[in-house]
């Protein structure tokens, strides 16, 4: 499966690079970070393919649950979220750190953060990220987001150059680690090592 996807990705690399470049030139929020380099294209393509694959899994599992309205009681919100979370945990029982944030993807994240934080607004971007962001000593993959800690603020200047996510996925920081969060199931799908430069 991965071979087939890699093939498709190679074919799409030219288009992807073009899109990233055009996006960076037209998007005002990306002004502080350079567009992806050719060596990073492969890491982005692999990340996006993994995200796509995960979103398909999420949707497939969600479809097995009883349909619920977009307007719910707290009990329905909780029940649905936990049921979906359990299904995802079971389906990803063998998940390992680095499944989404591969070494290449982590290098890309580091490079983006170094560039954004070295810019004239770096100090305030860092302050936004670290606002009410105490971090936790141990992050656990496939577990619920800890309810005791607030969600970190993601400045537009950091979000814009990161690969776009689909479905219910979000990037957040916990301490100086970037996590990938399924907000619908409230589950941490992956996390990086410390990527926020000191």
């Amino acid at each position: 499966m991965y071979h087939a996807q890699a093939m498709t990705h190679r074919m799409g690399l030219g288009l992807l690079s073009h899109m990233v470049l055009v996006g960076a030139l037209t998007c005002p929020y990306a002004a502080e970070s350079a567009p992806a380099r050719p060596s990073e294209d492969q890491a982005i393509a692999a990340f996006e393919a993994r995200v796509k694959e995960y979103v398909a899994l999420h949707e497939k599992l969600e479809a097995t649950l009883p349909k619920v309205s977009k307007r719910r009681t707290p009990e329905q919100v909780d029940k649905n979220q936990r049921a979906l979370g359990d299904l995802i945990k079971a389906a990803r029982h063998d998940a390992r750190p680095g499944e989404f944030f591969t070494p290449g993807m982590q290098a890309l994240v580091r490079r983006i953060l170094v560039e954004v934080l070295a810019g004239p607004d770096g100090k305030t971007v860092r302050a936004s990220i670290m606002d009410e962001n105490p971090g936790v000593p141990n992050l656990v993959l496939n577990e619920r987001y800890p309810s005791s800690i607030p969600l970190s603020t993601m400045p537009p200047q950091v979000l814009a150059p990161l690969p776009k996510l689909h479905g219910e996925l979000e990037y957040r920081f916990i301490g100086s680690r970037l996590i990938l969060l399924d907000t619908e199931a409230d589950i941490i799908l992956d996390f990086t090592e410390a990527v926020l430069p000191q």
Partner: protein, 307 residues
């Protein structure tokens, strides 16, 4: 001996407090005008409380489930008797800590029961303490969306409810499109992180300001309602836009307003606060009301008109 005398006084003090409390309950406090002491947006006024106007409240950083939240909520309910609120806009941090079903009851449904029972509709924006699943919670009227807009039931008013902790480019594009397409007289932006704040703990979110403010200026947003910093602050108009920080619905950062800030038109950081607002035609009247029922700020704002 002294101890015994003190104990003897205790029931009398309790009785006195109970009488005072009953007196406050029996006579709803009408909105009172006070002078804004630090360069108000306009002359201080009493809310006109006219029929046919849009009446709403603003509340933020409230969902603690602790007594100050309940006491401010009781003040809101008391206010409702004299001022027929139709909606409450929530600027985020709607539930702190755990968000189990019983937490929704403790931190939202119970304190605001009188308002909910009276048919007042709440519209929420999410803060950094809010789980994303709150978007499905029916009484928050988000219909599953993290950012959305809605038209007020009266007057030509549209609220733009943004998700300021996660301003992805798609959201910024969406808000531009929505603002551009809106022909409403009043455009009011509501979100959690303030573009302007004199808070010592958080303060202004400069990066968000860089992204959103040009759109607000270009498309005639008149008022911006935010929270995050746990106090009430009215900011001196910035590019013709009046910004409020109303992050004191349950939490309180006592003394956190930087007294040296040149942003503050009026600040209040010694008690919980909510805002009561009335829009009638081109005017928006507001009172900021404390947990004890004091009006700590009031004024009137003229809407911005396209140049």
């Amino acid at each position: 001996m002294r101890m015994r005398r003190t104990l003897a006084f205790f029931p009398a003090v309790l009785l006195l407090l109970a009488v005072c409390s009953l007196a406050r309950t029996a006579a709803p406090i009408p909105p009172v005008a006070v002078e804004a002491t630090q360069g108000p947006a306009a002359a201080a006024v009493t809310l006109p409380n006219q029929s046919g106007s849009l009446k709403f409240a603003v509340l933020g950083d409230f969902g603690t489930g602790k007594p100050p939240e309940y006491e401010l909520a009781a003040q809101m309910a008391k206010f409702l008797a004299a001022f027929k609120l139709e909606i409450v806009v929530l600027v985020g941090d709607n539930l702190y800590g755990s968000e189990r079903p019983q937490d929704f009851k403790l931190k939202f449904e119970d304190p605001y029961k009188p308002l909910l029972d009276a048919g007042v509709k709440f519209y929420a924006a999410l803060g950094n303490h809010d789980a994303r699943a709150q978007r499905y919670y029916e009484p928050f009227n988000m219909a599953g969306k993290l950012y959305y807009s809605f038209k007020a039931p009266k007057e030509k008013v549209r609220f733009f409810m943004l998700d300021s902790s996660y301003p992805v480019p798609e959201q910024i594009d969406w808000v531009e499109k929505e603002l551009k397409g809106s022909s409403d007289d009043w455009k009011i932006a509501v979100f959690h992180h303030p573009l302007y704040s004199s808070g010592g703990r958080h303060g202004s979110d400069l990066r968000l300001r860089e992204t959103l403010e040009p759109l607000f200026i270009k498309y005639n947003v008149s008022v911006v309602l935010t929270g995050h910093d746990h106090f009430y602050e009215r900011i001196k108009p910035q590019h013709g836009i009046v910004h409020f920080v109303v992050g004191s619905g349950g939490q309180l950062a006592d003394g956190d307003i930087d007294k040296a800030s040149n942003l503050t038109a009026k600040g209040f950081d010694t008690d919980q606060t909510f805002m009561a607002v009335e829009i009638s035609g081109d005017k928006m009247y507001f009172n900021a009301i404390s947990r004890l029922g004091q009006v700590v700020d009031s004024g009137v704002i003229e809407r911005r008109v396209p140049q």
